[in-house]
């Protein structure tokens, strides 16, 4: 059988960085082909080459699609022949409705007049296909990142797709939605549509992929065939990081002490709908040296809770008390919350975490400029040392600390955000989906950092949709559902089933 896609000897350089070196990739018809590799390995770059984001001439190598050599000068060229990419960073217009977004640029129009009846009917159909239960009228801003991802996929379905490229589609989805999505890919396969799946969730890879290509440092390391039964997660990890990784969760040697953070009767209302109570009387305690996990489904209110706690950066009519080290503190503005010792690592790093047009160094020190300045004057040398320190400790893959954060790979951007908050020296660190889009090796490093914080007697709150991670990292887990904490369990008693049971029961 002829491959539907062949990429040969692809080499792509950015000023100062060689992102891809002679990469080869071939995809068969009706195949799910996984592309895996560490953060910054070059996966997204390869897909951007394939989809014409980087037009012909800005890289070297050959792209063969359905037996013909292709030279794309724009994304629309690749879309025209059926290659559709869904990028790591979503590209939806927030203030337009789902239906409008779906048909943006592909309106079912007659002489420029859009037939909205038809568009709505079609939208409903597509939404059903991706398992999204929302009205086509709903504005994109009013649905969470998880649902937005599904809209993106529906949007791709709306075009005549032969090869679907998904760059970390499930990183913002919960398990149930991820499963549904993977089912979808398998359905496509049955219909003869090929997919390229980029993901850091290796269990997904072993579940659905027919073949796996591993990329490390911009080169193809291996293409594995899953049908021969020798492929397992360990083998993939070995190829990805180039060494053995025996344990997914590093051991922690922290002693749990006195309460550091105590939140009582925390209630929050929706910022735009004053009558809608989003957080309903939450009580939470985190002790020194303890890692507390918050589990819950998408939309349970975990991010909203964390943000409302962090200087009231979300919601209105907020009531409740916050104690740090036993003393009641004022956390009513972000600077005050930070002074009290809180830090919050956002779930959405592009919108809320980074100044993308600025470089790594400036981003790392942004939340704590006081510590690299005297009387308002920045000490360049000290700032550089701080930034270089974090770049080394967290292994931020970059040409130097002067690389723009907008040019970093997704996982490395996350490390920059994390560095920023580590440098602010918090007593309580709230991490919202800290390992979203992060490779196994880097996850291990981040877990190590969390452990170090706990060992230093800090309190850590981890919000995560990856239950294995919560179970592996937390000492204690709160389960949240519809704005309430519905269960609290020490990790010894916790399991995925127990958590799901708690959610269902509530």
């Amino acid at each position: 059988m002829q491959p539907i896609l062949e990429m040969r000897d692809i080499t792509k350089t950015f000023p100062g960085v060689k992102a891809l070196t002679n990469v080869n990739l071939s995809v068969m018809p009706a195949e799910i082909h996984a592309v895996v590799g560490e953060n910054g390995a070059g996966k997204s770059t390869l897909m951007k080459v394939l989809s014409g984001v980087y037009p012909d001439g800005t890289f070297t190598g050959k792209i063969m699609f359905e037996g013909k050599e292709q030279k794309f000068s724009a994304i629309s060229d690749s879309e025209d022949i059926g290659i559709i990419i869904i990028h790591q960073e979503l590209a939806l217009v927030p203030l337009l409705s789902i239906a409008e977004n779906l048909f943006l640029g592909h309106e079912t129009a007659k002489m420029g007049v859009i037939n909205w009846y038809e568009a709505y009917a079609r939208t409903k159909e597509l939404l059903k296909k991706v398992g999204l239960n929302e009205s086509p009228d709903t504005l994109i801003t009013n649905i969470g990142t998880g649902k937005q991802q599904l809209v993106e996929i529906a949007k791709a379905l709306n075009k005549k797709v032969k090869l679907l490229i998904l760059d970390e589609p499930t990183s913002s989805l919960n398990e149930k939605d991820s499963d549904a999505l993977l089912e979808l890919l398998m359905e496509f396969r049955a219909q003869g549509i090929s997919s390229i799946l980029i993901t850091h969730k290796l269990n997904e890879v072993t579940k659905v992929a027919d073949r796996i290509t591993v990329i490390r440092d911009g080169s193809t390391i291996d293409t594995m065939d899953c049908s021969d039964g020798t492929v397992d997660e360990d083998r993939i990890i070995r190829a990805m990081v180039g060494r053995e990784l025996s344990d997914r969760y590093p051991p922690r040697h922290a002693t749990v002490g006195q309460p550091v953070l105590e939140v009582k009767d925390w209630s929050v209302y929706h910022p735009h709908h004053a009558e809608r109570q989003t957080i309903k009387g939450v009580n939470l305690t985190v002790n020194a040296g303890e890692v507390v996990g918050i589990a819950g489904l998408m939309g349970a209110g975990r991010t909203e809770f964390a943000m409302s706690l962090f200087g009231r950066s979300w919601g209105q009519k907020i009531t409740g008390t916050v104690k740090l080290h036993g003393k009641e503190v004022d956390v009513s503005t972000i600077p005050r919350a930070m002074d009290a010792g809180l830090a919050y690592v956002t779930e959405d790093r592009k919108t809320y975490g980074l100044v993308l047009i600025d470089h790594i160094k400036h981003n790392i020190t942004l939340a704590n400029l006081e510590d690299v300045s005297k009387r308002g004057v920045i000490d360049d040398i000290r700032e550089l040392q701080v930034a270089n320190g974090y770049r080394r400790d967290l292994a931020i893959r970059s040409s130097s600390v002067f690389q723009k954060t907008g040019n970093l790979s997704g996982g490395n951007q996350q490390k920059v955000v994390l560095s920023k908050w580590l440098f602010s020296g918090p007593d309580v660190l709230i991490l919202d989906e800290p390992t979203r889009g992060i490779d196994v090796g880097a996850k291990y490093e981040i877990y190590g950092i969390i452990n170090k914080l706990a060992e230093a007697g800090k309190a850590v709150i981890v919000i995560s949709s990856e239950m294995p991670e919560l179970l592996g990292m937390s000492d204690r887990i709160y389960v949240m559902n519809e704005g309430r904490f519905v269960a609290e369990m020490p990790v010894a008693e916790a399991s995925q089933e127990a958590i799901m049971r708690a959610i269902m029961r509530s």
């Binding site: 919108t351 975490g353 100044v355 047009i357 400036h362 942004l366 400029l369 006081e370 920045i378």
Partner: protein, 401 residues
């Protein structure tokens, strides 16, 4: 063999560096080309000492306002009211000094404070009520244009007291009477020029050695030395020209001090850093604990004070406050910032760029006037230059992206 690869690598580095900083070089080179062109087409009038002094005097208020405008644009906003505000402050100054016979120094202080207050008021609506700066300052533009008329009663008021005129028409007095080629030569101007050049070059070298020590020097040697030599030639040549006429104008000192101050603010202080972060991503800045509202309020306040200062300088220069003063200044000021590389989306821009941008506009104004090009065509040409500058900016960014 090793030698050869070494030099070829150096060459690539230089090329690479120039490419990465193409915007900065293009700007400086444009200014040099424009100056060379007008020097040629005005038969050498452009670089005559008297004309150079004139260019400084004519553009000082634009440059001064461009400094504040840069902060505002970097923060992601705009101020359309600066022309009207400067006109209004000039009018108030005239009322104070000419009609009420108030002490000039006191008048200046009150006027600057009034300018700051106006800026703060506009900034207040932008920062705390999130009304787009475009709207707030458009309203401000109308209000203060009207108020200037009211204050002056529709007529011109002047002349100003002698001390006040010194602000614009005064020169720093020399300590000797020296002659060169049979004409008076201002030694002090030359000495100050030398000292300033030495200080700048020394600061550059100090920074360079710091960078080398921490291996963060990105600029190739050739370019670094070339840049310093150019700076030295520029500054010394300029002070020589000043010295050949009447020495250093007082406004030049004020302007230069402000340029240094604002360069320092934008590159070295936490305040400056936060403005760039605010313009680069307001949400991220806010979540990093930056009091964005206060920052916006502060930038507008600074802009107001600078607009006030510019109004005073302009009034002192004309020696009369007219209802027409300040008309259209905002356009030159905003154009200077964008020609100088500031991004319309905020978060990007340099003080040096804005200053060079202002002088590109200034030299063109001056050169075209000498050539006798009518005001109509001057506008057309300036508009085209602005468009071209921003177009090239966007074009290169897309190419790099």
């Amino acid at each position: 063999m090793a030698q050869a690869t070494e030099t070829s690598r150096d060459k690539i580095d230089i090329l690479h560096f120039v490419k990465a900083n193409i915007r900065d070089y293009a700007l400086l080179i444009s200014l040099l080309i424009i100056m060379a062109y007008f020097q040629y087409s005005t038969n050498g009038t452009l670089f005559m000492p008297v004309n150079m002094t004139n260019i400084i005097l004519q553009n000082s208020y634009i440059v001064i306002m461009a400094l504040g405008m840069l902060l505002i644009i970097v923060a992601g906003h705009i101020d359309l009211s600066v022309g009207s505000v400067s006109g209004f402050i000039g009018a108030v100054a005239a009322v104070f000094m000419v009609q009420w016979k108030m002490d000039p120094i006191l008048s200046v202080v009150v006027c600057l404070a009034l300018g700051a207050l106006i800026g703060a008021l506009q900034g207040f609506f932008v920062a705390f009520y999130r009304i787009p700066a475009f709207i707030v300052t458009l309203a401000g533009m109308l209000v203060f244009k009207g108020l200037a008329l009211t204050v002056l009663g529709g007529a011109s008021v002047g002349p100003f007291p002698k001390e006040f005129q010194l602000l614009s028409s005064g020169y720093v007095p020399d300590f000797t009477t020296f002659e060169l080629f049979g004409q008076p030569f201002n030694v002090l101007a030359m000495v100050i020029g030398l000292v300033v050049t030495a200080l700048i070059v020394r600061a550059n070298f100090k920074e360079r050695s710091n960078q080398l020590q921490h291996s963060m020097a990105e600029e190739p040697n050739v370019i670094f030395y070339g840049r310093n030599i150019l700076i030295a030639i520029g500054f010394l040549g300029f002070s020589y020209l000043m010295a050949r006429y009447r020495g250093l104008p007082n406004v030049l000192i004020v302007m230069f001090a402000l340029i240094v101050l604002f360069t320092f603010i934008t590159t070295r202080t936490t305040f400056g850093r936060r403005i760039y972060a605010l313009g680069g991503n307001e949400k991220a800045a806010k979540l990093s604990g930056i009091n964005t509202e206060r920052l916006i309020l502060l930038t507008f306040t600074i802009m107001g004070a600078l607009a006030g200062l510019a109004g005073l300088i302009f009034a002192a220069r004309l020696n009369v406050a007219t209802p027409k003063a300040g008309l259209g200044f905002e356009l030159d000021v905003i154009a200077a910032c964008f020609i100088g590389g500031a991004a319309t989306t905020g978060g990007v821009g340099k003080v040096v760029g804005a200053v060079i941008g202002a002088f590109i506009m200034g030299v063109m104004n001056n050169g075209m006037s000498i050539m006798g090009i009518g005001i109509d065509w001057q506008q057309v040409i300036k508009g085209v230059v602005l468009m071209l500058a921003v177009f090239l900016d966007v074009y290169y960014k897309q190419k790099q992206g």
